[in-house]
């Protein structure tokens, strides 16, 4: 092929295929871009200023025009000027950036929750309704979506550039991020934290759909078992129900209504029961003894996968009475009334 043809194709490709700006597909994106363009503007102004000074002085005071230098000893006024003006600009940037940060990382209370499990080298998305996806995520427009994420092995990072959101996915700890998609379409999911051999293959697509389409999708792609239902099975098969049966004489605390309550611990402290607490209490029970109970629960470290833990957490979240717990334990006593929860202080 002739070289000019290659160059011509390159030019065409440049003009058509390469964007300089990114789509704005979430409610956050315009806010992030506003700060980006502000910063871009002060960068260009700063660069032009430095450029003007350097080139201006170089031309004005080059040796041919100005053969003898005049010694000038600093100037407090000038020093103060170029300390205070950059400082002021940087402080504005700081406040603006902080507001944006809190906007991105504090989810609204009505957000729908989706769990993300990262592992070398794939993303698993688990919807509470029992839809499981790999390297894909379906979300509706117009509804805030919170992702509760955890890694099964190394650090990963969940990034959707078109939404301007990103958060590290950490082993052994839930991290969250939220967004509200605005435009239907498909967008990249990247793992942005280097995670080993196939790091660059740990990518996926988020599909944003109209609420109606999303409704159809959830009905078509459910596995038939919600996460809570999976959790209930696990709860029984791991033998959790033999202690956490909810009866007054049970060896473990009652779990009905425990989620989102404040719990009194044996060491005197009070904790808010959330996803992270529940997960940790299953894996390291000896560090989280409910007041009034003996430290007899064994650790489940290494016995349940992160998916299993998510199922259990979802199950405990939905547990409002112990009716089903006891029913699975002893079918004969299944018509007993659920007792009130000791130790749980209602919020």
């Amino acid at each position: 092929m002739h070289i000019s043809q290659v160059l011509w194709q390159f030019l065409i490709k440049w003009l058509t295929a390469s964007a300089l700006f990114l789509r704005e597909a979430s409610t956050i994106a315009p806010y992030a871009d506003a700060l980006y363009f502000f910063l871009l503007t002060i960068t260009v102004i700063g660069l032009v200023l430095v450029g003007t000074l350097v080139f201006g002085f170089s031309i004005r005071y080059r040796k041919e025009r100005h053969p003898v230098a005049e010694q000038v000893e600093g100037s407090t006024l000038l020093e103060a000027t170029w300390t205070i003006i950059p400082l002021a600009l940087f402080l504005i940037t700081f406040v603006w950036g902080a507001i944006l940060y809190f906007r991105i990382y504090n989810p609204p209370t009505n957000a729908m929750n989706v769990y993300i499990v990262g592992k070398q080298w794939m993303w698993k998305a688990e919807h509470p309704g029992g839809q499981h996806e790999i390297n894909a995520l379906h979300v509706p427009t117009g509804r805030p979506v919170q992702l509760t994420m955890i890694s099964q092995d190394v650090f990963h990072s969940f990034s959707i550039p078109d939404f301007r959101v990103k958060r590290e996915v950490i082993p052994g700890r839930y991290s969250t991020v939220w967004f509200q998609a605005t435009t239907p379409g498909t967008y990249h999911i990247f793992c942005t934290q280097y995670c080993g051999t196939n790091h660059s293959a740990m990518i996926g697509e988020v599909t944003v759909m109209n609420p109606d389409d999303y409704q159809k999708w959830t009905q078509q792609s459910t596995s038939g078992m919600s996460l809570a239902q999976n959790g209930e099975r696990l709860f029984a098969s791991m033998g959790c129900n033999s202690c956490h049966s909810g009866s007054a004489t049970a060896r473990g605390p009652n779990l009905a209504g425990v989620y989102a309550s404040k719990l009194q611990l044996a060491n005197g402290s009070q904790v808010l029961v959330n996803d992270a607490y529940l997960r940790d209490a299953i894996l390291n029970p000896s560090e989280h003894i409910t007041a009034g109970y003996a430290p007899i629960m064994p650790t489940y470290q290494g016995q349940i996968s992160e998916d299993g833990l998510i199922d259990l957490v979802e199950y405990i979240k939905t547990l409002q009475s112990n009716y089903r717990v006891q029913q699975t334990l002893t079918t004969a006593d299944s018509n007993q009334q659920a007792p009130t929860t000791p130790g749980a202080v209602k919020p």
């Binding site: 002085f57 100005h66 400082l87 902080a98 650090f155 550039p161 590290e168 052994g172 660059s200």
Partner: protein, 557 residues
Amino acid sequence: MSATSSTILNLPDQRTASLPKRSYLNNEDGLMSWLLTGDHKRIAILYLISITLFFFIGGAFAGLIRLELLTPQPDLVASDTYNKLFSMHGIIMVFFFLVPSVPATLGNFLIPIMLGTKDLAFPKVNLLSWYLYWIGGIFTLTALVLGGVDTGWTFTTPLSTHYLNTHVVTAAMGVFIAGFSSIFTGLNFIVTIHRMRAPGMTWFRMPLFVWSHYAASILMVLGTPVLAITLVLVALERTIGIGVFDPTKGGDPLLFQHLFWFYSHPAVYIMILPGMGVISEVVSTFSRKRVFGYTAVAFSSVAIALFGFFVWAHHMFIMGVSNYSALVFSLLTMLVAVPSAIKIFNWSFTLQKGSITFETPMLYAFGFMGLFTIGGMTGVFLGALGMDIHLTETYFIVAHFHFVMVGGMLMAFLSGIHFWWPKMTGRMYPESLSKLAAVTTFIGFNLTFLPQFILGYLGMPRRYHAYPPEFQVLNVLSTAGATVLGVGYMLPLLYLAWSLKYGAIAGNNPWQATGLEWQIQSPPLTENFIEIPIVDYEAYDYEWLAKKMEQEVTTVG
């Protein structure tokens, strides 16, 4: 004077000029006289040769990375190989080139002379630091030859401790040992600057080059041990599983990053501060003017060193640190940007009312000022919390730190090498060729890294072997730039080597600069000064220099 009106270059008459009979270069002969030397100037030369070697090894890796990224498909090398390439590129460039670059070569050579003393405080420790550098280097090269390491230069746990089967411990040992070489260099500088200044050389008569090295030395001495501890913990975790970073054993994987960045953020200032010192010297000399606001520039170096220790968590804004600690670290990050801005404006105003000439070191210094401004401002993007979420871990951050480290530090290093080359070797390099190299480097650099800012904003993650096809055009531009940049770096290697034998004799003070190092012969004697000078003038006093030269002319005449 042989100089024309547009230059201050003042070489002696080449028909009669000769190199001094006795100098540090020919004082003793034989390889052993070099390998066992205690002379800071010879050690500086040993370092210069060593870091140049490592720079070109690291650069070769960079070349292969850019070649792979020419196409979106992972087609040149396997993924594991690619990961090893960028890991080795980072480890070699950071620990074996950037950290020792200016301090161990130019700093080693010049600080004793600038202070008016015969050597550093501990000449043998200085030699030991070079040997430690090489032992560390050999460990790293061994890891490379045995098959490489693919942790990334950050050694992030638990990937490095539990999931990789490459030579992590060997490479970590290399960095661990090289760290001690850096601690010894820093220690030597601090003691020398405190205790060995010539009579009359008060703190505020020291060249700014010395001030910036003093600030960097504090960082080296206080920061590097933390890195050493962290790497030992990684090695112990890998070998016997002590569990400090392992969540299943009650450890905290994030703790590693706190410890690592507690060193590695100050390390950025270890790398850039000495470069800033070079720029102060060069800009002053070629505008024939005292540095504008000498005290402000001196204290801004110290301010950078102090604040530099309290910004490490800005590498971790998206990692689930508490929102409030993120606020504090973002604020401190904004504050640390201010002293750098002060320096840029002070250098610009040094030009005002000067008598400016444009020799090669000055061209590199101008390049530094432009590129460092971009590098610094894009740092503010990343210091702003909400903006960081989108830009971190993408090519934006790659471009940002290359603007600071390569556009900043490497330009400063080359500026310094071209500035002091006549002092170190006694010979000049070809002027027009070196100007061409400076311009080539500047153009190549911008072509390489400006597209990466856009790539990062568009979301292309760093350390990606394959990428979506829409990013190709910008990657092709970047690779094209890297080729130009490679030429820009090869040129000085060639003409500087050529100049060793064929360069014009430089004379004592080719730039008519004021520093003490320019008042002695080139190349200097082993003992630097025949008698210890008494300093009775301020730094950058061009009127003193003019008087002195006039006096010499009348004395000789």
